[in-house]
Subunit: 316 residues, 2 copies
């Protein structure tokens, strides 16, 4: 039977999103279930398998019409071997995810870091269309990134390249979840913005943020927009660091385009204005004049479309 | 006539080094002349052309036995077009270097950033032999780098990738020659080490460095080795920053091997011990356990052998 479809699986800490799509990325059916990470490895695997069956049934397609399955997962992974090495928000450790899926469905299955999968999605169907060298950066709870080099995903030797969130940009900076100090992620992620705001509030700073029971990066952006001084200062400093991270990746990778995605990027103009200002200050002219920084096009569906794009790219 | 040889040209601020070599890298003849940069573009070009003729004559070969010419030059360049865009220590600005050489000799000629050329040299004939993904970093007056990805030089969109020396690792750090603040080069290059030492001496610091008329990074390393406190502190801090730069490039490129070259790397164990210590502190386990940091093998001839290797790689 002609294999004209692929399946994408976005494995997240709270939900598993799947989509059945044509080879041009057109989505036929979608299905999402809770991850139930607390249930352990086999429970989550079982949910992935049944979600794949469900999305097939919803799209009225058969297993032998499917060319490939792409899975985007938090890392670090061994994507060559199809293993999840460890994940902070999922119960997997050295877990063979690809093997049981291939055994069940007899469909070639590809596992990729979720930021890499999202990068492939933006490259094939989003803001990176018609480019050849692209860096994708997602700024939300954490900061992840992926690079497309000459039209292919850049993996590196262990398939864990582009961990931009864990590059050091302030050697004596705050401790990061990874154990290092002064990582970009500890300075500019949504979590970092919320942490800094809550620390300042606890220390008695004056701010309209005091009216909220829970302060996340969303509220800090909101109050900054309304003119709150503390919020504005925090946002400005975080975006300065984000701009440094973007400048550094431009200086190293020399891409045509940097696509910024993730929740923080949704704040829009304030983010892009500041990041561009920092790039103009810190990057070589030849590099910055030949690189655009643009918003992601697939923000909310970046995970599952990324997984679909991964399946398409890898099966070509 | 069978083309069994290549020519490498290392264009430096003070001298032009050329070598005629077999396709396996074996050098047949070498010739070096002063650059005479003060003489201007046409003067330097004339010297390059006559050096190529001289190294051919010394090797007793004819123009039509030469497969290709490789030129390593300081950047930024447009290596696709064969243009030197601008160079701090050479008189070139938007200068077509490849065109007049190809016109004179009718030999395909390739221009590459000198750090990239040295990276190709280490990859083909030095410490990076038998690897596929390598980062080369040279630490001397400046800090340059080049990456080999799947056996090819990584250029980026404008051919100016891997400007590691100009990534920011201390946002409020000292001003760099490039105009930015807190670049790796302004913190960890030989020039930076000398500058910091001279600043401290001028401010009245106690140190055995006082006995020298001129203090370069060489003397700082020497006195650190003999136990001078000021020198040790300066070296330790600079190598901490170098270690951060190396950690960041490992975190982004995920290479099999990092080759450290340039004058500063010749200080040996003290450099590699400290850099490895920082990597252990700052890099993901999966990345650091799969990447070795090793000394360059071609240090003194890295320029001209790199240019030869460039000629060989590009003509394949």
């Amino acid at each position: 039977m002609e294999k004209r479809y692929v399946i994408g699986v976005d494995l997240g800490g709270t939900k598993i999103s799947t989509a059945l799509a044509e080879l041009n990325g057109n989505i036929i059916s979608e299905y999402t279930i809770p991850t139930n990470a607390a249930g352990g490895e086999q429970e989550v695997l079982g949910r992935i398998l049944s979600a794949i069956e469900k999305v097939l049934a919803l799209g009225d397609k058969k297993v032998d019409e499917i060319k490939s399955i792409g899975i985007g997962s938090p890392g670090p992974l061994d994507s060559k071997k199809g293993i999840i090495l460890e994940t902070p928000n999922l119960p997997f450790e050295n877990f063979h995810l690809v093997k049981p899926i291939e055994e069940r469905f007899k469909i070639p299955t590809y596992l990729e870091n979720d930021a890499n999968a999202a990068a492939i999605g933006e490259f094939m169907f989003g803001a990176g269309k018609n480019t050849k060298n692209m860096v994708y950066i997602t700024v939300s709870t954490g900061i992840g990134a992926g690079a497309i080099v000459d039209g292919r995903i850049y993996r590196g030797n262990t398939c864990n390249a582009l961990e931009l969130g864990h590059t050091t940009i302030l050697p004596e900076g705050p401790r990061c979840n990874c154990g290092n100090y002064g990582c970009l992620e500890a300075l500019a992620s949504g979590t970092a913005i919320a942490r800094i705001a809550n620390e300042k509030l606890k220390a008695g700073a004056e701010s309209s943020l005091k009216s909220y029971e829970v302060v996340t990066s969303y509220e800090v952006f909101e109050e900054a927009r309304k003119g709150d001084k503390l919020s504005s200062d925090i946002i400005d400093k975080s975006l300065e660091y984000l701009g440094i991270g973007v400048s550094n990746i431009i200086t190293i990778m020399d891409p045509e385009i940097v696509v910024l995605g993730g929740g923080v990027s949704l704040a829009g103009e304030i983010v892009f204005d500041k990041v561009n200002k920092v790039i103009n200050k810190r990057c070589f002219k030849v590099l910055r004049e030949n690189c655009r920084v643009v918003p992601a096009a697939l923000v909310k569906q970046s995970g599952v479309i990324g997984a679909v794009a991964l399946a398409i790219m890898e099966s070509q």
